[in-house]
Amino acid sequence: MNEPLVEFRSVSIERTGQNVLEHVSLEIFRNEIVTVIGLNGAGKTTLLKAMLGIYKPTRGKIILRTKKIGYVPQKLQFDRTIPFSVLELLRMYSGKGADVVFQKSQEIQAEKLLEKKVGELSGGELQRVLLVNALLADPELLLLDEATSGIDVRGEQQFYTLIQQLHQTYRMAIVMVSHDIHTVFAQASRVFCLNRTLCCHGAPQDVSQNPEFVKLFGSYLAPYKHDSHD
């Protein structure tokens, strides 16, 4: 098999005196879509930020075999009254010229947003812009942290379709953090189930039958019962 693009060797991370990740060992390979699922506080975002080098492991080792990493954060906290144009923002973080930014924006139909102010974008538009920003890094590894939170169901489907298209075009490794189990299982080639430690991992159909996974997500997987309308 290929050499992994990312390797976590028994990684533990402490934040403000508490263990956020404990002895996590995993491998991510080129050209695969991996989804990380877990309940709130399970360490999903910490895992991505450790891949980005924002959080350093307290114990263990992280081996990254690429420096080309694109990142789409869950939320972008900024002052919406500042008149940053989308073009300015993308040029600022990528360091690339206006022509390259325009070309990359065209690929995901975001070129009409370039002259808009970042503070005036809707949730879906902002995610598109952040995706362009991530792609401008020419990533071999794309990290999406609950990238569809704050987008309606239709927008969410369009976003995942776009991710699939990008994956086919660029053949990069994609790591998605998500809370929407049904969408996740339809998109991913492998699933990591996290609860501070790595509970289980593997192909979606295998993970869905794993007792650890059922214990964590059982109630979410049960069919939804409507109230009686008669």
Binding site: I69, P83, Y93
Partner: protein
């Protein structure tokens, strides 16, 4: 009307006023440029805290017989590292830390000055600004400072913007956010140290915040906001300093009133109902 015009022409015959105009103009542009990043990061209270630490430095300088400029310079630098120490410990909220440092420094200054006789007027000048305080040495210091800060802003404009707009995106792009934030606060501290003489410790935050916010009303992008803020600050400061001379009022207060007036007129004129 004619006596007022005479007063304006008269002002330009005095060396102290020309020095004040020069230092005020350079300082206004530097403050406005840095102010854009202060507004971007919502850190107006930081400048408030640094200027108050500077005030304590001046009071201690007078008490200990140290050159006031040197005491002020070291105090603001020390202030930056004290602020960063508390902020990075992540034990207290940012606004609590900054208010604590600002008010403790002001209280310390008052206690120190209360123990001295004859120096209260000196401290008043640093609280509200006085154009008579600008010496020839200050003019040269402002020239050097102007080059230093402009070089810093031009050379580090991109990483500074990255780090101050959104830390998470900056970190993911490999930007050393903590180092740049420290560098930015040191630039701010040095500008505040010089600005305290002409604008005063209590009013400096307004000097940093008002021009960028006025420019924001008209700007189509951040670059436009930066250029606009520098132009607005330059015009407002020169009108304010002239007003301070004509009406014989503290320079800092007059400049801030003019800048505030420009902001209010712009904000009201562009309200959409």
């Amino acid at each position: 009307m004619i006596p007022m015009i005479d007063r304006i022409f008269e002002a330009f015959t005095f060396d102290f006023f020309l020095r004040a105009l020069f230092v005020g103009s350079v300082l206004s542009v530097l403050c406005a440029l840095l102010g854009n990043f202060v507004v971007l990061r919502r850190e107006a209270v930081v400048s408030h805290a640094i200027s108050h630490v500077g005030l304590l430095g001046i009071a201690l300088g007078i008490l200990l017989g140290i050159d006031v400029n040197i005491a002020l310079f070291f105090a603001v630098i020390a202030g930056v590292f004290i602020i960063l120490f508390f902020l990075r410990s992540q034990r207290f909220s940012q606004d609590s830390v900054l208010e604590f440092i600002a008010e403790m420094s002001l209280a310390g200054s008052i206690v120190v000055v209360s123990q001295m006789s004859g120096y209260r007027i000196d401290l008043m000048q640093f609280l509200f600004g006085d154009i008579l305080l600008i010496s020839e040495r200050d003019v040269w210091f402002t020239v050097v400072l102007g080059f230093f800060v402009l070089f810093g802003l031009i050379f580090f404009h991109r990483p500074l913007s990255q780090a101050l707009f959104n830390e998470e995106l900056a970190k993911s792009a490999g930007v050393r956010v903590s180092l740049l934030h420290t560098f930015f606060l040191l630039l701010l501290a040095v500008v505040i140290a010089v600005g305290m003489k002409i604008i005063g410790a209590l009013l400096l935050a307004a000097f940093l915040v008002i021009p960028p916010n006025t420019a924001k009303i008209f700007a189509r992008n951040f670059r436009g906001m930066m250029i606009g803020s520098a132009v607005i600050a330059f015009i407002g400061t020169n009108i304010g300093l002239l007003g301070a001379y004509i009406f014989d009022v503290p320079s800092g207060a007059m400049v801030v009133l003019v800048l505030g007036g420009m902001f209010l007129v712009s904000a009201v004129a562009t309200v959409r109902f």
